[in-house]
């Protein structure tokens, strides 16, 4: 016979101690980026050229159970021919310590504008991908992922 009463009694202790854990684990090691940092990083890369929110699809799981390794896939609507191809895709975060996650450089040999990797996400956020085409035009897309907190955070 399991003793539910005893288990419930410890729940209060978990709540108290767990509260401490949440507070500690949410203390930033260094300041997180915000939307303004993302925009600054984007300007550093592409200047003030106009960006159209089209043609770029960012695929991320709706929920990530651990922010250390989240599968990311980006695809861009492009024929990928010798004179019309995606030159670069930049992955940007509005919440990580650094807003620039990575850059992919494609060539006409790439054949298909689709790239996948695994990224770190320090919390729930919308990851943005900006694609620069061979004609210099810029396109963007973004997707939000909820990053959940693990049960027992080992500090």
């Amino acid at each position: 016979m399991r003793d539910k009463a005893l288990f419930n009694a410890t729940r209060r202790q978990i709540l108290t101690a767990g509260g401490g854990a949440v507070l500690i684990s949410s203390l930033p090691l260094s300041a997180f980026a915000d939307e303004a940092d993302l925009l600054r990083a984007r300007t550093d890369l592409f200047g003030d050229r106009p960006i159209q929110e089209e043609r770029v699809t960012v695929k991320l799981p709706p929920i990530a159970e651990n922010g250390h390794s989240v599968p990311l896939s980006v695809s861009v609507d492009s024929p990928m021919t010798d004179d019309d191809y995606v030159k670069q895709i930049a992955i940007l975060s509005p919440r990580n310590t650094l807003p620039l996650i990575g850059q992919f450089h494609l060539t006409p040999f790439s054949g298909k504008a689709q790239v996948s990797t695994r990224i770190r996400m320090s919390g729930t956020q919308a990851i943005q991908a900006v694609a620069e085409m061979s004609d210099g035009s810029l396109w963007a897309g973004s997707t939000e992922t909820v990053v959940t907190l693990a049960a027992c955070v080992v500090l």
């Binding site: 399991r2 539910k4 288990f7 410890t10 729940r11 202790q13 978990i14 709540l15 101690a17 767990g18 509260g19 949440v22 799981p61 929920i63 990530a64 159970e65 651990n66 250390h68 390794s69 989240v70 599968p71 959940t148 907190l149 693990a150 049960a151 027992c152 955070v153 080992v154």
Partner: protein, 259 residues
């Protein structure tokens, strides 16, 4: 507000197992046994089952290399174990009559190193020991854990069971309270697993590395704010054996991916 967050993250729902025919209440009925795999998100499951993308295979590759090539004068593992070690990991931890000790797979590999290869044992969590243990265990992937408890092993099983049932740490929680009584329920963002070691050494997203079952046990102890035991501690060995008996019949998944 904070209080509400904690409360909602800690919804404990009553366990759902029958204990009728089970003399050991910490044992989960065979038909309810579920690997940690079934408590992962689809994306993490895919990472495990994709034998290219599963990062733990980077260590399995190194293990294969260590197994087949000797880096010094000592004979390579493969010079004796010509056909590999298929099925061996499913029987560990095992009591070794000759030496009179209980050995986990890591311990058995180190016994080979010291007795047959004239080498110093590899340290716990060293890259070499993790790699070769993962390589050997991977050869049993898909085979059910098959532990037969002999008379000599019973005291170790009892000791491991005792650890499993004992409340510890600031949270005053036993392994049993989460992993037998509340598996399948939510603890913050996680679904509580049944606490089986059938995927270890495993790649944990948390570690961003492969690690041993004892590292996992140390993290569990730390998680309930208890002082973890040192690597290789006889009590952890006994816990490993108890966990294996508790997981009897579950398939080996090494190298698994876990949260």
């Amino acid at each position: 507000m904070m209080r509400w967050v904690f409360a909602s993250g800690l919804v404990f729902v009553a366990g759902c197992m029958s204990e009728a025919d089970n003399p050991d209440s910490a044992i989960i009925a065979k038909e309810d046994l579920q690997s940690g795999f079934s408590f992962l998100t689809a994306e993490t499951q895919r990472l495990q089952t994709d034998e290219f993308e599963n990062p733990a295979y980077l260590w399995v590759d190194r293990g294969a290399d260590l197994f087949t090539h000797s880096t010094d004068a000592s004979p390579a593992c493969a010079s004796c174990h010509k056909d590999g070690l298929v099925g061996v990991a499913a029987q560990y931890p095992k009591f070794h009559e000759s030496s009179g000790e209980l050995l986990n797979l890591e311990g058995r590999i180190n016994q080979c190193r010291t007795e047959h290869q004239g080498q110093a044992p590899w340290a716990y969590e060293s890259d070499e020991l993790l790699s070769i243990t993962a390589y050997v265990a991977e050869q049993s992937k898909g085979m059910p854990i098959d532990i037969e408890v002999s008379e000599a092993m019973q005291p170790y099983v009892d000791k491991g069971r005792d650890y499993f049932l004992t409340r510890r740490g600031q949270f005053n929680l036993s392994c049993q309270q989460c992993h037998t009584e509340n598996w399948g329920t939510q603890l913050r963002g996680d679904t509580i697993s049944q606490g089986h070691g059938n995927g270890f050494p495993a790649y944990r997203l948390e570690w961003q590395l492969i690690g041993s079952l004892q590292r996992r046990l140390r993290d569990c102890d730390t998680g309930v704010r208890a002082e973890p035991l040192p690597y290789g501690d006889p009590t952890y060995l006994a816990v490993e054996l108890y966990l294996a008996t508790r997981a009897n019949g579950l398939e080996i998944e090494t190298p698994a991916v876990r949260r």
